[in-house]
């Protein structure tokens, strides 16, 4: 049965007339292939043997441990500096200079923690009333999306890794924000598949400092 909105004459005319919109040029095959080859050659490709993977994993764990350790020490130093600053002018100035960076770190950590909690709850949303929850999730996604875009335009977005993560999160949040109660669970499955393919949650978790949120931001402000 024909849909009430269908109009084969209009659709045929539209298809023909729209053909002129952004009408593609002939594909520059050779030029593009050269660019692709050059770009791929420029990327370092290391083929890891199985035993090398263990070495790399161990080195990564070690580096992560050192990184967390240094970060924790820096946080303690900043905390101590803020307390002593009430009596020391030089330290006071240094502390004031460090404030914007610390503020962005705190904002980033809190934002990442909220987003991780949100995406985790989104993935777990398979209960009996998950359809009813969809509107609430979409609304939360819109809130986080606003923060994500602010973060992208803030100094936090200057860090390349953080920027890549924020862009991945932006895409996922846009998709979730467009869900509504009328959609079936298949949409959510596709979003989950996309999240799995881009490893967005593992990347997000690795970007969040260890410990509960109050500990991560304690003493920074």
């Amino acid at each position: 049965m024909m849909d009430e909105h269908e109009d084969p004459k209009f659709e045929a005319w539209l298809r023909k007339a729209a053909g002129s919109y952004h009408s593609p040029l002939p594909t520059p095959r050779e030029e593009l292939w050269k660019r692709i080859e050059a770009a791929r050659r420029a990327k370092p490709v290391i083929a890891l043997r199985p035993w090398m993977r263990w070495v790399v994993a161990a080195a990564a764990m070690l580096a992560l441990g050192i990184g967390i350790g240094r970060w924790t020490v820096n946080q303690s130093a900043v905390r101590n500096g803020t307390v002593v600053a009430t009596t020391d002018t030089a330290q006071d100035q240094a502390s004031q200079a460090a404030q914007p960076d610390i503020a962005y770190q705190v904002a980033a950590t809190q934002y990442l923690s909220r987003t991780e909690a949100f995406l985790t709850s989104f993935r777990a949303d398979r209960g009996a009333n998950h359809e009813a929850n969809r509107a609430r999730l979409a609304s939360q996604a819109r809130d986080l999306l606003t923060t994500t875009r602010l973060m992208l335009d803030s100094p936090a977005g200057d860090n390349q890794r953080m920027r890549a993560l924020l862009e991945d999160l932006e895409l996922v949040l846009v998709q979730i924000s467009q869900l509504d109660a009328a959609h079936t669970g298949h949409d959510a499955d596709l979003i989950n598949q996309g999240m799995n393919q881009t490893n967005v949650l593992p990347k997000l978790r690795s970007a969040i400092p260890a410990g509960p949120v109050p500990v991560r931001t304690q003493g920074a402000l």
Partner: protein
């Protein structure tokens, strides 16, 4: 040689097979990138990025869907993300231009179909525009669009229907051309 054999050879590091796979799909990838971006330089950048990602991630292609479907998922992700960045950048420029042009009157009526069609398509919401261009202009099926955009087939159909309805209103001046 069928495509699964070609993919196996690419995975084994055969550069001739890489080129053959590229040749088989580059036209459709470039055409879609061009239709969505409307700019040759951007379309080339997006096509290049699509194939680099595809070759890098070929190990994760499990063959559950057609290779072309998998490749077009990468294409739409690359193009839509890229266009969003361009749009954000251009929006900043436009805001400045708008401030300069306050008080200047523009003529909105445009008798030329090509120009009116471009304006009408560009006024569509991004999702409608993408589905319309993929389906009505580039000939993708709703199943291919759903897989590429990560939406249900029904969503693709609904968005196409709404896009056509909006275009019908926007192009009502030309109604004589489709009613006769």
């Amino acid at each position: 040689m069928d495509e699964s054999q070609l993919i196996a050879r690419v995975r084994a590091g055969d550069s001739a097979a890489e080129r053959a796979l590229y040749d088989a799909h580059v036209d459709r990838v470039y055409r879609l990138a061009f239709r969505l971006a409307g700019d040759d330089a951007l379309a080339q950048d997006f096509t290049q990025e699509t194939f680099i990602r595809a070759f890098d991630r070929l190990g994760s292609f499990r063959g559950e869907a057609a290779f072309s479907t998998w490749l077009h998922t990468i294409t739409t992700t690359v193009v839509l993300n890229g266009l969003r960045k361009v749009k954000r950048f251009r929006q900043r420029e436009t805001d400045i231009d708008d401030a300069r042009e306050i008080g200047i009157t523009h003529r909105h009526a445009e008798p030329d179909l090509k120009v009116r069609m471009r304006q009408a398509i560009e006024a569509l919401p991004d999702g409608y525009r993408t589905v319309f261009l993929m389906h009505d202009v580039e000939g993708y099926t709703h199943e291919e669009i759903g897989a590429a955009l990560g939406v249900e087939t029904g969503t693709s159909k609904a968005q196409l229907s709404r896009a056509r309805a909006k275009l019908r209103v926007a192009l009502a001046d030309f109604a004589g051309e489709w009613t006769t």
